[in-house]
Amino acid sequence: MKAPIAWLFIGAFLAFCAAFLVAPSAMLAVQSVFDDDGHLTAQYFAVLGQYRYEVAFRNSLFLSVASATSGVIAGGLISFAMLKPEAPRWLRTAVTSFAAVAANFAGVPLAFAFIATIGSLGMLTGMLKRVGIDLYGMGFSLYSITGLTIVYSYFQIPLMVIISIPAFEAMRPAWREAAENLGASAGQFWRLVGLPVLAPSLLSGWILLFGSAFSAYGTAYALTSGNIGLVTTEISAVLSGNVVSEPQVGAALSIGMIVVMVIVLLASSILSRRAARWTVRS
């Protein structure tokens, strides 16, 4: 204990986190299992089985898986293309800096950018209509899960570009040359060397993207205004009293979200350990 002032700062930080981060999270767990009279009950978790909330969880999971998968594929391809040794340098700088901006351009402004573009009165919708392509007549809607997946891709893809740059940079051109000298085709190289080496980073990128989509709220709120139930918008509906249900239901929904995040993180740490072991052996 040579520096009491040091312990003061460490203690203040830990106390602040305990009071305003850990305690509220624990409060959710407590609140979700006690009724108004203080009796232990599972009734609020049973409510999650109702059609409305089941749909919300299904929508949220589908949207997160779809946008994370499209983000990993498109983001990975973009990083791959711009990091090719033959690619001009200015391209790399341009893509990296744009990705940093787009990954942080989310929430309400992003929703309105897409409403202005391919909303029912959007500019692009109108232009396509003039050349005979009626998007909304063909069954497309921005205010649907498909629409949300497209909008989410706008921050998911650049996020993946940023995450995957170090992984692609770590791939030595020498590996490719060695494989070619041994007579491997491009397909064989990617199947046997490239993808196994990249797998752990792609997987952890997917997890991060899943989490960012699963907890996103502003974009969905501004776009769907409650027409499509997602877990986040259902929680906010409970909190702001827009639906007739007890606050405990909001707590149970929140605990549901936390459980999903914990499962996904645990699965990823197990898988990435396995992938890493496999990479070392090959």
């Binding site: 040579k2 520096a3 305690a23 409060m27 402004p109």
Partner: protein, 252 residues
Amino acid sequence: MNRLGIGGWSILVLAALFFGVPLVMTFAFSLWEGGDSYGFSAYQVLWHSPRLFEAASLSAELAVATVAAIIVLLVPAMIFMNLYAPRLRPLFEFIANLPFVVPAIALVAGLSALITGPDWLVETPFYLVIPYFFLALPYAFRSIDVGLKSIDLQTLTEAGLSLGAGMGQIVTLVVLPSLRSAIVGLTLLTLAVAFGEFTFANVLLFHTYAVYIDELGEHEVTGAAALSVASFLATWLAMLGVMYAGRSRTAK
């Protein structure tokens, strides 16, 4: 310029379309004045809107307060943890990753269940600084951690002590200046995150910038589009600053 191959170029061209078209279209939409007339009237209306000014200055104040909270609460705690209590590192890392497991909407549910008073705390918009702190925590933690790893904290401190400096002098004169670029980077990121935050402000009913855009969008979509363009440009400026701060760090 054909060395990338058809595959490489088509990926990049498709990406440029996907990311460029919405920006161009949003800007064009914000100029629409109804019918066939285009102009800057949406921007002029916004410029003279006192409510926009109020919302934006509230968000700016909250963003600055959040940066202050990070610098006062997190930065010294991390410096001292590295110096005196490296055993606490796993606990710090656990806390820094917790906001990823507990989504913002769940944290706001927990906060409103647990903290119902006192009024001086929960009724001022500055209450939002508490959740914003946790929103910025994972980024800020990583940024300071990288900064601390790039300097030899132990040696610097011992050198300072052997020259007769006190702990306060060492932190303010040696450690903080060498963390300067990390702190500039985290400041800009925190400003960007806190300024555009929507979840907490919307649920707790405070009129911040993002809440204002959402309300505006319900009746004046061109105005909301104009503000979206402005937000994109502001994010761009903040990220340019972050990158500039990062570059000066590697140049040293």
